[in-house]
Symmetry: C2
Subunit: 420 residues, 2 copies
């Protein structure tokens, strides 16, 4: 049985700690050590060399492609077959913890070390990969490396992206020594697996050990500008106001009603994350307000219906409040379903290990959604403490939580790697 | 009859233009010239010397008191009687027009010039005054000069106030040459009159020529801090959120409901002028939000009831949304009623001149509210174009609108100045 092999949990935890020291900083608010490894910075370069050294120590064959993605290959018994790929990212947002992305990469290497120790050779080769600029926190486009590798984004377009200082991806790859020579478009792997922290509260709150990810939900972002009339808070009667903040508040409460009503399915989410009134003074009725709307739904048709409802409500509020409301789409992605067969294999593997599992959609974007376009792909989620807080130094999953997810990935990898 | 005298409208308009050139700046957004004469700056000093030169040209007896208030006295037929005072201010906010305050001061001087031309001598002496730092825009306390003169604020407390650069009122008075020697507490004048722009839309929208101000309403400001939980907008189910922005939006809509319900009288006003979410990003549920609440009511008992209702609603929202809500009082003043007899005189004078008038409460604070503590006081309001926009370069009242208000003040002055 495949589950006769298990990883060494503490070795994985130690590996996460070691990588987490690179680009670390002391968060003064919490007293915790955070991680800041923006893509293609010196800290990211140090992290890359650290992980590559581990790959080399495991005897893997390392390739860097033209967008800086790094692939480490372990030979298979039938080495000409397409490999099973495990991947994620090691770049971070500026205020990160040490698990986001790193768990998938270091977990995959822990699996390799476990297979080596057992002298277990799979039929198909195995590739462990980390991808450039998954976060989008430096150059503005997330999943950049995997999107280039799988053909969604042309490499010349990726090269031209620049950070706030005007430095381009191409320049920074060259500067850091990660402008590889390998063609960025690979023959599709046999399958793609990714283990990742959930980055949300569901698994931990509901007491599940692992999440079987059914796909990545659709995302729609609006920037909404409301223009009313600035007015003196003391002298302007309520009935003569055109208060942009009242219009914004009505939209915000409508978003929650929309998401909780069930009209757009049980998993509609809606958030007003930014609210910026002008002039923003205690005694002035705001004449202008810019707010953001974030809609998520795991069903494309429901998402389209929710978007239409929100847009209709903008018009209704504009009429009722005597304000002008304009909006622009700042992001829009469709749903990405993951492979049903691999989901079933993940669920079965978890059951064999006595782990409780929950099928759930991913609220965040991941490299796996890019690979799902070119091969069978799936993800295993690991619970996070503190309501699954992420992109924050408090981000934390226990040794056992991490090991559970990686062991399930190990089991599924071994199945996939034996397929003909 | 007293209304056989009338001011020269164009002379008043020219005087407003001339004073408005001092401390002027080009507002790039509107292309209009604005006024920036923060109290006790060089621009304010230039404005003071400009107005004092006009007072001297009219042969008035000029006194500067220890807080920099300037009084210009015209003798009466019975010169030992208490004077009738007309006053306002010439300091401004940093983004002002040329009417706020200046209309009251220059209008009073126009009245003096009109009386001089008619060789009309009143029984009582007349005093025209301008007061230091009415706006509170530099040293943080509004109505400062008149509050010191009428005893609400001790002069040593006023002297110690400082601006953001740490410069104190005492130092800046001395530096500017306006640390006068006159005792700041005067014997109460017989009455106090002030003509001021409305700074709101009511008179213009409803088509009234002048406002008879019944008093200054009570003001209560809260700074409200809402603490929920920051969370990923994509991964956090709606039912597991503690969204500070939703709590803030509910409070904002409650404020409007409270003000329009009639439960706290017909003139309750409520405004959320500032809303500041943390972290304020499109894809993060705000974990913290600081908002401001501005309540106004012309009735003290209704104001207390409205405050209690708002505070109870904070607690209700905190419970219902699973957030913590704390608040602090950042300003609180009670209602100041103006003298009923002078209000009747204003209304009668307007009627004699064929002007339509509306009795209305002042939404903003004015020097007159300080003088109301020590003598009979009242105000005449003048309509403003563009919805009465104020504290803005667009602030504008027509020559006729200004002249109407000042002529009514002239008529009432002549009545009061003949009283025994």
């Amino acid at each position: 049985m495949t589950h006769s092999l298990s990883i060494q949990p503490q070795r994985l935890a130690d590996a996460l700690l070691a990588l987490g020291r690179i680009g670390s900083y002391l968060d003064e608010g919490s007293g915790l050590w955070g991680v800041s490894r923006l893509a293609l910075t010196a800290a990211d370069g140090e992290g890359r060399h650290h992980v590559i050294a581990k790959m080399q120590a495991l005897g893997l064959q390392i390739t860097t492609d033209r967008i800086g993605n790094v692939y480490a290959r372990r030979r298979g018994r039938e080495d000409s077959l397409a490999p099973v790929m495990m991947g994620s990212h090691i770049d971070s947002v500026p205020t990160a913890g040490r698990f986001d992305g790193c768990l998938g990469v270091l977990g995959a290497l822990e699996i390799i070390e476990t297979l080596d120790a057992a002298q277990h050779w799979t039929r198909r080769p195995i590739v462990v990969a980390f991808f450039t600029e998954e976060e989008g926190a430096r150059f503005g486009t997330d999943m950049l490396g995997s999107a280039v590798a799988t053909g969604r984004i042309p490499i010349e377009e990726a090269y031209a992206l620049h950070d706030r200082a005007g430095l381009t991806v191409a320049e920074e790859l060259r500067q850091l020594g990660f402008l590889g020579e390998a063609e960025e478009h690979l023959p599709p792997p046999h399958a793609y697996l990714e283990c990742h922290i959930e980055q949300g509260p569901v698994l931990r709150r509901r007491g599940f050990d692992v999440g079987v990810v059914t796909g990545v939900q659709a995302i729609s972002w609006h920037e909404v500008t409301i223009v009313g009339r600035s007015a003196h808070a003391g002298t302007t009667p309520m009935e003569l106001r055109a208060d942009a903040s009242v219009a914004a508040s009505r939209i915000n409460l409508y978003l929650r009603e929309l998401a909780t009503s069930g009209r757009f399915g049980p998993q509609q989410r809606a958030t007003m994350g930014a609210m910026s009134p002008t002039p923003g003074l205690v005694n002035i009725v705001p004449g202008r307000m810019v707010v953001t709307v974030d809609l998520r739904n795991p069903d494309d048709a429901q998402m389209r219906a929710a978007e239409a409802a929100v847009i209709a409500f903008y018009a209704q509020v504009a009429t009722e409040e005597g304000v002008q409301i304009s909006w622009r789409q700042t992001a829009r992605t469709s749903c990405v379903p993951f492979d049903g067969g691999i989901q079933a294999a993940i669920a079965a593997a978890a059951s064999r290990r006595g782990l409780s599992q929950l099928s759930m959609v991913s609220g965040a974007g991941h490299d796996a959604q890019e690979w799902a376009r070119v091969t069978r792909a799936a993800m295993v989620f690991v619970p996070g403490e503190y309501d699954g807080i992420s992109h924050n130094p408090r981000e934390f999953s226990t040794v056992e939580q991490c090991a559970n997810g990686v062991n399930v990935m190990l089991d599924v990898l071994l199945e996939l790697a034996e397929e003909s």
